[in-house]
């Protein structure tokens, strides 16, 4: 028995050392016990590794009453510019690849941690699809509830390694997601093969719609201002709706949103969406100032179609 206990202790020593290292470096500021590593370094390394985990931890540490939710298109909106216009603090809780199911779960997570005042949900027709059903949020919630799961998360491990490498070499590590193909090829690939590509495989997301209705009811009961933003996709994307005979479903999407809350729609043929130079790819604008001005500005929207419930 003594031999077994000795071996168990020797076995777990490196594990305990690793756990201590994670708590010390804490790439995602989960524990926020030690501040030896600068937040800039963590932001550069940990944030691209797992945006969702970063934002969940950040929001838990510093909750905010006004939030943005959505995928990378909403994530691109510069919150500091909103704060200048609105003179209020905002938190951009959107993250790359967020599916509508994840957006719903993120809302409830935020609602548990903060007394919400204003909620802006960025959602597009290409995401509003029953087949777009991945949901990483339950796993994330488990991590937020259980520190042991944080210690054994692969994003945390990866970030730890990069941060240690950065500290040891003195060089900053830059994680780049730049595509290695030409812009045209990338554009075409995004149109046809990306996860949200419109290609005829579509079913109305009944469950999601029910969940959004629950959010609407919660917001009404708690006097939270709920606003939907349909971000502008390039015309090449919009044309696929007609090509794949999804016009009816597209109209139903707007019908659903209009029944849920105030909606700013940028996603229709206009000067913004016709010009490829305004876009990184068919989904993402290069500059989101027009969105910020139309939604948070004092003047009536210049491009967005506004629908008030």
């Amino acid at each position: 028995m003594n031999k077994l206990i000795k071996k168990i202790i020797i076995f777990i020593l490196p594990i305990i050392a690793y756990c201590f290292l994670v708590i010390l470096i804490d790439p995602f500021n989960y524990f926020s016990l030690f501040n030896d590593i600068s937040n800039k370094v963590k932001l550069k390394i940990a944030y691209p590794n797992n945006e969702l985990l970063w934002k969940c931890a950040e929001f838990k540490n510093v909750p905010c009453n006004n939030i943005l939710l959505g995928d990378s298109r909403t994530d691109a909106i510069d919150v500091s510019k909103i704060e200048k216009l609105a003179v209020e603090k905002y938190y951009n809780f959107a993250y790359g690849g967020a599916t509508p199911s994840e957006i719903v779960d993120t809302f409830w997570y935020a609602a548990r941690l903060a007394k919400l005042n204003k909620v802006y949900i960025g959602i597009n027709f290409d995401a509003y699809n029953k087949f777009n059903c991945m949901n990483r949020f339950p796993e994330m919630e488990s991590i937020m509830r259980n520190p042991l799961l944080y210690l054994v998360n692969t994003s945390v491990l990866r970030s730890e390694c990069y941060i240690i490498k950065s500290l040891l070499t003195g060089r900053s590590i830059v994680l780049s997601n730049k595509p290695t193909v030409s812009r045209d090829q990338f554009w075409q690939d995004q149109l046809e093969h990306s996860r949200n590509a419109i290609n005829g495989k579509y079913l109305h997301p009944d469950n999601l719609y029910d969940n959004l209705k629950k959010i609407k009811t919660f917001c009404q009961d708690n006097k939270i201002e709920l606003t939907f933003i349909v971000l502008p996709t390039h015309l090449d994307m919009q044309e696929r709706i007609t090509r794949f005979n999804l016009t009816l479903e597209h109209n139903r999407f707007y019908g659903d949103l209009h029944g849920l809350g105030k909606t700013f729609n940028f996603d229709y043929p206009n000067n913004l969406t016709q010009n490829k130079n305004n876009y990184e790819d068919p989904y993402h604008l290069k500059n989101t100032d027009i969105i910020i001005n139309d939604v948070w500005g004092q003047s009536p929207p210049s491009i967005a179609q506004l629908y008030l419930r």
């Binding site: 028995m1 059903c133 339950p138 488990s142 799961l149 692969t154």
Partner: protein, 494 residues
């Protein structure tokens, strides 16, 4: 508390330490208390009462059967015991089914059964029946020590999902004095960890694909349905065999060897062979206590008697799993597979001999392939939420296969990478590519490990090799395991 919960990782060492430091004559009490405590964590006090009731009934009936000389009275005690155990099981298991029908007939709105859980009841009830039957057949002597008998019934490693242990196998082990054995301890811990790996890393990953298809069958056709079905076949195997490994590993730590429940079932060359390798303790139970009595009773009907006995046995097996048409059809299918094989097997053997392929490796692999697919077809009915869903899967699983294969070949030959990628993406069943790659990697790890296990005995290897394997296992479980509360063992529901 299940084996893959963090609370179990605290429970087990605490129980072991208390067990180790307790005097040998009282160790049964430590295990018995721990077993009831383990069962109590499901927050259903009626389960403890039912376990105690079944224990009491089978203990009493066992003693009464053995005390009688008169055959008729012995039989009467046996039937009383079996009747009470089966009545308890049927009432609990089929209460939702009965309630929904009585609600419909009488226009009621009862919902008592919605909250009832029946974890473990099927297994210990069957164990109680086997105990009483073995005493009646004079294969075993009754256990007089109620405490040890209660432990035989409630032993926590096998309480929730079996193996269904025979009295002759488990009771003598529970009576043996415990001696700490370093090798048993470390092999038990390794077996437990291996089971944990299979469950949280492999089975729960496969569940993503199976659940995605079978929870939304009407959203899919063709290849997606086939992949979902194969994923489920692998999921249920890894899930259940993982549980068995964890149960056996736990048992080994306490000096108890529980029955092996699986023996590479998907390498079976026939359905009969499959049932000799799948859920072995359960198939032995239905063979010994349902099939054999029926078959021997109907032996004068020849092959027809055997065929009928098989169909009824597997029908009972299907119903044991649950009160839905899906399970009934699953059981019936296996019964029909086996019943028809009693007729054609002799001719098949002659044909293989005549063609001189009876020893051929190709024939063996063909038989493995056919058997696996027959099992998967039955699993469609087992997994689908409703009979309609199962029929939908069967009718739609080949739609579009031909054109898919055609497009894939054209894409590969014409080096149309984007098209091939798009076609491959369909195999992902709307899950991320990284998950798929991770799954394939771990399935390969399992294959390689199973081959290595045949050639190398790990405790004969150098310490650096062993410890590397231990750390690798730990890393896989920690960093790639699923530990959220949504994942449960599949066979816990039966």
């Amino acid at each position: 508390m299940t084996f893959n919960s963090l609370s179990y990782f605290l429970f087990l060492p605490v129980v072991y330490l208390v067990f180790y430091f307790t005097a040998d004559c009282w160790r049964w009490l430590v295990l018995l208390t721990a077993s009831y405590g383990f069962y109590a964590t499901f927050k259903a006090p009626y389960l403890l009462a039912i376990l105690l009731m079944v224990t009491g009934i089978s203990y009493t009936c066992g003693l009464c059967i053995a005390a009688q000389q008169d055959e008729a009275i012995r039989k009467r005690w046996l039937w009383i015991g079996i009747f009470v155990c089966v009545a308890i099981l049927v009432l609990l298991k089929y209460l939702p089914f009965l309630e929904s029908h009585t609600n419909r007939i009488f226009g009621l709105n009862n919902a008592i059964s919605v909250t009832i859980i029946i974890i473990g009841v099927s297994y210990f009830t069957f164990q109680a029946i086997s105990y009483m039957a073995d005493i009646y057949l004079e294969i075993e002597e009754p256990e007089h020590h109620f405490g040890r008998f209660a432990l035989y019934m409630a032993f926590f490693p096998k309480l929730l999902q079996g193996p269904i242990e025979r009295a002759g196998d488990l009771l003598p082990q529970l009576k043996q004095p415990y001696q700490f054995n370093y090798d048993a301890m470390r092999s038990g811990m390794l077996l437990f960890t291996w089971g944990l790996f299979k469950k949280v890393v492999v089975a729960d990953r496969l569940a993503l694909y199976a659940d995605q298809v079978y929870n939304h069958v009407h959203d899919y056709t063709g290849l997606s349905l086939i992949i979902g079905t194969y994923a489920y076949a692998l999921q249920i195997y890894f899930d259940f065999s993982a549980y068995t490994d964890m149960a056996r590993g736990t048992g080994r730590m306490f000096g108890i060897n529980l029955t092996e429940n699986f023996n590479s079932p998907y390498l079976a060359t026939s359905i009969a062979d499959f049932w000799r390798r799948w859920h072995i303790s359960f198939s032995r139970w239905i063979l010994d206590y349902i099939f054999k009595p029926l078959q021997l009773g109907w032996r004068n009907w020849g092959q027809a008697g055997t065929a009928l006995a098989l169909i009824i046995t597997f029908l009972v097996s299907g119903i044991w799993h649950g009160a839905t048409w899906g399970f009934v059809v699953w059981g019936l299918l296996h019964g029909i597979y086996l019943a028809t094989s009693t007729y054609y097997r002799p001719y098949q053997k002659l044909l293989h001999k005549w063609l001189r392929i009876d020893k051929s490796k190709w024939l063996k692999w063909w038989q493995v392939f056919v058997t696996f697919n027959l099992v998967c077809v039955a699993f469609i009915f087992f997994r689908a939420k409703t009979l309609n869903d199962a029929i939908y899967v069967v009718l739609h699983m080949f739609i579009g296969i031909y054109s898919y294969i055609q497009k894939m070949l054209v894409g590969i030959v014409g080096l149309e990478i984007a098209n091939v990628r798009g076609l491959l993406r369909q195999l992902l069943i709307d899950q991320p590519q990284s998950e798929f790659i991770t799954l394939i990697f771990f399935l390969l790890v399992l294959c390689v490990t199973s081959q290595l296990k045949k050639r190398i005995y790990i405790y004969d290897t150098p310490i650096w090799y062993r410890w590397s394997a231990y750390y690798l296992l730990f890393i896989f479980i920690s960093f790639f395991g699923t530990f959220n509360s949504i994942t449960k063992f599949v066979y816990l529901q039966f």
